[in-house]
């Protein structure tokens, strides 16, 4: 086939408009496939960060919307292998406009930095945050997006919780592992805004284990502690907890796989149609090549090579588009961390390019087989 490469190349460029349109259609389809594969990979094949490997999340077994008593913390702290426990509560609320979506979490400042060592900020900001009840921390990306700086006021209008909370920005942090786009504030400030009878609750407990190896055992023991309690718990790794958020969207895995399958099948049909047309137009030339001594194998190689070339060009272009799109999706107004860190990993690139090659070859297999089997006499009689 390599010997006939110039012929493959010239055949591929014979009908420039059709080749361009085919390359573009394959590129767009593979771009979609690439983005979905990147999302799939990001959701289901991304390892926990070194910090995450130590962390667990305990929540109400019934649902995330159900809370737990804060007294559970003391019991969890007694479990062997637990180094730290911190109450965390999703606040929700609204900042200026409902469209301004970002995570607002109520936490315990005294335990926060031990729990999340990947969060970095200046020592004086850290102390100011811990000292002042109404202080808040903003991720750098978030602060830049809303043009906020240390000392500025932030007002959140409650939706899950009643009332309005006023904060002063006391620190802008960086995150060494993921986008710094969240807001943290003292949970005591939230409790104080609520009536006394409503203050004893914890949405989740962040649990820090003494080693990644003890994480599974700690999870089992925490849940065992509350098995006979009125409020049972579900403890999982932080990574599993994040994935459970994704599962709220439905069967994401099946959705992503079915979209990938549908896209692949569609490209296959488009490419097969193009190759069938292209080969049909050239049946007579197949007869000429055979007359000159080209074997069936050589004919198949030339046609398959042409299809593979076109599909591979589409694949490369599709990869470039997917790369741009994944970069763009990082700035999408979604609160799924995986989307904000979306990237085309080498494994996804390899799968994408391999898929384009396979699609190219599969789409041309039947036309190439048919052409190679055509007798010279039948081929020469073909009017094309």
């Amino acid at each position: 086939m390599i010997r006939h490469w110039p012929l493959v190349l010239k055949n591929g460029l014979r009908n420039k408009r059709r080749t361009t349109l085919t390359v573009c259609s394959i590129a767009v389809s593979l771009c979609v496939l690439g983005v979905f594969l990147a999302i799939y990979h990001s959701f289901y094949f991304t390892d926990a960060t070194p910090e995450q490997a130590f962390r667990l999340v305990t929540r109400n077994k019934v649902s995330l919307a159900q809370v737990m008593p804060t007294s559970y913390r003391q019991k969890i702290e007694q479990v062997s292998g637990v180094r730290e426990v911190m109450v965390m509560q999703w606040y929700g609320g609204e900042y200026k406009d409902p469209k301004n979506m970002f995570a607002r979490m109520a936490i315990e400042p005294a335990r926060f930095f031990a729990m999340f060592p990947e969060i970095k900020l200046a020592e004086e900001q850290k102390l100011a945050f811990q000292r002042e009840r109404s202080a808040c921390l903003l991720g750098r990306e978030l602060a830049e997006k809303f043009n906020l700086k240390v000392g500025d006021r932030v007002t959140l209008k409650g939706d899950i919780f009643p009332g309005t909370l006023e904060f002063t920005v006391r620190g802008v942090y960086d995150n060494t592992r993921r986008p710094a786009d969240e807001m943290f504030f003292n949970i005591q400030y939230l409790y104080e805004s609520l009536p006394q009878r409503r203050r004893d609750f914890a949405g989740t407990f962040a649990v820090l284990a003494d080693s990644p190896d003890s994480v599974p055992r700690v999870a089992r023991e925490i849940d065992a502690l509350f098995r006979n309690s009125p409020v049972q718990t579900k403890t999982e790794t932080e990574r599993e907890f994040e994935l459970s958020f994704i599962s709220f969207l439905g069967n994401v895995k099946a959705f992503l796989l079915s979209v990938c399958g549908a896209v692949t099948f569609t490209i296959l049909l488009v490419s097969a149609n193009t190759m069938a047309m292209s080969v049909r137009e050239r049946v007579k030339e197949v007869g000429i090549l055979k007359t000159l001594g080209f074997t069936r194998g050589a004919i198949m190689g030339i046609i398959l090579g042409e299809a593979a070339l076109i599909a591979l060009l589409g694949g490369i272009l599709g990869w470039c588009l997917a790369l741009l799109l994944t970069q763009g999706l990082r700035y999408a107004p979604v609160m799924i961390g995986e989307i904000k860190m979306l990237t085309l990993r080498p494994s996804v690139t390899v799968v994408l390019l391999a898929a384009s090659l396979i699609i190219g070859i599969a789409s041309a297999l039947i036309p190439a087989w048919g052409a190679s089997r055509t007798t010279i006499v039948d081929a020469m009689r073909h009017s094309g």
């Binding site: 010239k10 014979r14 000429i288 001594g293 074997t295 010279i376 006499v377 020469m380």
Partner: protein
């Protein structure tokens, strides 16, 4: 007298076309001597082209024997036939049949791509063949940039570039004006006389047949017994 380069015995070719049974050739016995120039004549549908296709091993007979250069063509596999054709047969079509996306040089080089020659040697051979047909100055032209006569000369260059023993021409002047036809026929005659190539020319043009040393007539698939020596 040397052994015939082409021998057919009781050669028969039948087709089924749209449920109709067609006998294209019936009991054809033909012998062509080396370095002979034979014209096959006959009306349309008489089986001239079918016989030429069988000699070129482009088609297989229904029954009968066919030998070329001492090889029983029926005994060869498809792969062996392809190689045999590449080495021993040069075929010239009526409608030139050049590959439109390739230049004259690339078209002529095409059969050499199946040989072990280096690219440099292939191009050198192709250039020589083009010069032989008088198109040394048209090597980089695409078929659409050439006249009909020039295209046919490129086709002849492609047919002779592998230095085949037999040149088979299927109405090579059918699509040409008188001047170009004369050039092509002169060229075939030269290849026969100067290079001792065996030429089998299918034509229904008596003027073209005059270039041949022998003429055989086909009618309704049968080879007529009269052999006309010129």
């Amino acid at each position: 007298m040397p052994d015939p380069i082409i021998i057919t015995r009781k050669l028969r070719r039948e087709f089924i076309r749209d449920q109709f049974h067609v006998i294209a050739l019936e009991d054809v016995d033909l012998e062509v001597q080396p370095a002979e120039f034979v014209a096959l004549m006959g009306p349309s549908g008489s089986g001239k082209s079918t016989l030429l296709h069988l000699i070129a091993a482009m088609d297989r007979p229904t029954s009968g024997e066919i030998k070329a250069l001492g090889t029983d063509l029926r005994a060869l596999s498809d792969r062996q036939i392809a190689r045999w054709r590449n080495q021993h047969i040069g075929f010239v079509f009526q409608s030139f049949n050049l590959i439109p996306v390739l230049t004259a040089l690339e078209n002529v080089e095409l059969p050499l791509r199946l040989t072990k020659l280096s690219r440099k040697d292939r191009l050198e051979h192709a250039r020589t063949a083009l010069e032989l047909v008088g198109l040394g100055d048209r090597v980089h032209h695409l078929p659409r940039q050439l006249s009909g006569g020039q295209e046919q000369r490129v086709a002849i260059a492609r047919a002779i570039v592998t230095d085949p023993d037999i040149i088979l021409a299927d109405e090579p002047t059918g699509n040409l004006d008188a001047g170009s036809a004369l050039e092509v026929l002169t060229l075939l005659s030269r290849l026969n006389k100067e290079f001792s190539k065996t030429v089998v020319l299918v034509t229904h043009d008596p003027h073209a047949a005059q270039f041949a040393s022998h003429t055989r007539h086909l009618e309704k698939g049968q080879l007529l017994p009269n052999s006309v020596a010129v």
